[in-house]
């Protein structure tokens, strides 16, 4: 992003702007999902689009996750560039055959004859007392499947540039928006820009510890880094941006400098993003480590309803601060 002019918009507005710009640019881009049209989305992230592009290009669908993802696959291989919205990533389960067995596999099964320019937008994240079925961050489910790309954007500015790239990509991309971010305002560059998939971003420079984080955990990590700076601990924070494709090198280079790596992702800990990233970089950084690699994630329990139970299980600024402090000891 080399723009020097910025504006303040919400994360939800950034979604709408990205889609609006891409729909204006390419008439093959369509948007379909539950409530995306007349009311502009359950999270108000697609407001105004139906009025501008009409009912066929911005389609309120029936409650049929499997059906709409599959419809997106069929439309994608025959020339459209569909954006399909699944209201909560928890509901990917209902569309999973079309996501994991169809969208991800059709190009491969065709021996490279077919392209699947499909974007599946969905939401992740706890923290609004949505309990066990509307709070999960299921990026590990989809990152496990070869053939899918997986994007976990941080700020609104990041989201906008990455979403535009996802829509232009000729592969199925699972684009995971954090539902606690929609109403937050961010500084977003004015005018056209895109961010490539597969390039992690160093958002804070430091020398004592590397924190590699996804989605809103990037912002929590930056908050923790500010606190740590007061203790004269300078932390390098990396925004992972995309799980697939994965930019291993940026993390490796940073850890070679800092000797310490903490991975923060809001998905459940076990068999999750943190474990995988740790192993991905292990063989390159093992002899540079001054402290065992650590990870933070949501505890291995279903999301409970009560805030008294929910907040303790999700990683937050304080937990990142404490874990960093422990790791940064000389």
């Amino acid at each position: 992003m080399t723009q020097d002019k910025f504006k303040e918009i919400t994360y939800a507005q950034a979604v709408a702007e990205a889609i609006d710009e891409e729909m204006a640019r390419d008439e093959n881009v369509i948007l379909m999902g539950e409530d995306v049209g007349i009311i502009g989305g359950n999270f108000k992230a697609t407001v105004g689009l139906r009025d501008k592009y009409g009912d066929w290009r911005v389609k309120d669908s029936p409650i049929s996750e499997l059906g709409i993802v599959g419809l997106g696959v069929g439309a994608a291989i025959t020339g459209l560039r569909p954006i399909i919205e699944i209201m909560f990533s928890d509901f990917m389960s209902l569309g999973m055959d079309q996501i994991a067995n169809q969208a991800a596999k059709i190009r491969y099964m065709s021996g490279g004859q077919v392209k699947v320019p499909l974007t599946i937008r969905t939401t992740i994240g706890g923290g609004r007392s949505s309990a066990a079925q509307h709070s999960q961050s299921l990026q590990a489910w989809v990152a496990h499947i070869p053939g899918l790309k997986v994007v976990v954007p941080s700020t609104a500015a990041e989201l906008k540039g990455l979403l535009k790239t996802a829509i232009r990509d000729d592969n199925p991309v699972i684009f995971m928006e954090h539902k606690m971010e929609y109403n937050k305002k961010y500084s977003v560059p004015v005018g056209e820009y895109t961010i490539p998939l597969g390039q992690a971003n160093i958002v804070n420079e430091g020398d004592r510890l590397t924190i590699a984080a996804t989605s809103s955990m990037v912002m929590r990590s930056l908050e923790a880094a500010q606190e740590l700076a007061k203790d004269n601990i300078y932390v390098e924070v990396i925004d992972i941006r995309t799980l697939v494709p994965f930019d291993k090198q940026t993390i490796i280079d940073s850890v070679k400098k800092t000797g310490r790596l903490l991975i923060v992702d809001e998905g459940h800990l076990s068999f999750g993003v943190g474990a995988e990233i740790g192993m991905k970089v292990m063989e390159d950084v093992f002899y540079d480590l001054d402290y065992p690699m650590m990870r933070l994630g949501t505890e291995d329990v279903p999301f409970p309803f009560s805030p008294a139970l929910e907040f303790p299980i999700i990683p937050d600024t304080k937990k990142i601060y404490q874990k960093s402090k422990e790791m940064a000891r000389q």
Binding site: R57, G67, L71, G74, A75, T78, Q98, G111
Partner: protein, 322 residues
């Protein structure tokens, strides 16, 4: 038989059915001698459905297929050499050996793909129809499915959307009475699956799926209706698979020999050939010549497939992303 049918059109229908039959017989042979990896679901006995249905389409149209897909692809005009090579896992196959019998995907001839997941192709075919609708391309999609696929959620979700939005698609059920070993009657209350159309506000028809002209005429009307922008139709074709569920299945425990004999007597090829001869639309000699040339064509497809090399192991890492 309508007198307006040209001899050429009729013998082409017979040729397609015979090509499917011969192709499948040879796939079975290749399986028996151990040359075919994995499995294949043979279309023998059901040839009239794919043949009659695909004869209604224009070049630009689409079809969605199933795990029992060889017949659909051949009826759509796919290259039998490339199909056979794919089924043997060879480099010159349609998908360079990555698909095999059950997953051939190629947009060649508008084939949206066979599908290893029962019901998996239904939403995809519906998506092609959505594209055609909003781009006003006048392309029609025929979506084939087995009887058992109608018990999947994808069937319900797709037909509901297609009807709600008047999409240009024709859903063709091949009711061969079984899903592997489970008789439809044991798991489904309605006898005519086309009754389900009513639940979506769609027209539904149940017909004799062994009568190629009946299939042609019924699907033609539905395809024209769809092309004119009126929306989808559900057509159930009653038919039977002569062999087991797939090449390794003798298919003995779950159906009776009497039932098999009864359906084999209604073989779509024999019935159509007899009708053509009776109505003097062709001659025994012409049919025999046609059959000889198709036997030769399939023999060449088998040779082509056998002679094609296997893909290099490094190719496993190609074609994942574009």
């Amino acid at each position: 038989m309508k007198s307006s049918y040209q001899e050429n059109f009729l013998t082409n229908l017979y040729a397609t059915m015979f090509r499917i039959r011969e192709f499948e017989e040879q796939v079975f042979e290749l399986y028996k001698i151990g040359l075919m990896p994995g499995l294949a679901h043979l279309y023998i006995g059901e040839e009239a459905v794919a043949t009659g249905a695909c004869a209604t389409l224009e070049d630009k149209d689409f079809i969605g297929s199933t795990h029992r897909g060889h017949g659909h692809l051949i009826a759509r005009g796919a290259d039998t050499k490339k199909m056979m090579a794919e089924i043997l896992g060879k480099k010159d196959g349609y998908c360079k050996g990555k698909a095999g019998s059950m997953h051939i995907v190629t947009l060649d001839k508008g084939i949206l793909g066979a599908n290893g997941v029962v019901g998996g192709g239904i939403p995809i075919a519906t998506g092609a129809a959505y594209m055609a609708k909003i781009k006003d391309t006048k392309q029609v999609t025929i979506c084939f499915m087995g009887d058992s696929a109608t018990n999947e959620g994808s069937f319900h979700e797709s037909l509901n959307m297609a009807a709600a939005w008047d999409l240009p698609i024709v859903y063709v059920i091949e009711n061969n009475l079984y899903g592997i070993s489970v008789g439809l009657k044991r798991v489904t209350k309605v006898a005519d699956l086309s009754e389900r159309a009513k639940a979506y506000g769609m027209k539904g028809l149940s017909i004799d799926g062994n009568n190629v002209l009946k299939v042609y005429e019924t699907v033609k009307e539905a395809v024209d209706y769809a092309r004119e922008g009126n929306g989808p139709t559900l057509i159930e074709c009653k038919t039977y698979r002569h062999k087991g569920h797939h090449v390794g299945d003798p298919g003995l425990e779950y159906r009776s020999r009497e039932e098999e004999d009864e359906w084999k007597a209604k073989c779509p090829l024999i019935c159509f050939k007899e009708a053509l001869l009776k109505e003097k639309k062709t001659t025994k000699k012409a049919i025999a010549d046609l059959e000889t040339s198709i036997v030769q064509e399939i023999k060449e497809a088998v040779e082509f497939a056998k002679n094609s090399p296997y893909p290099d192991p490094s190719e496993a890492f190609e074609d994942i992303y574009s």
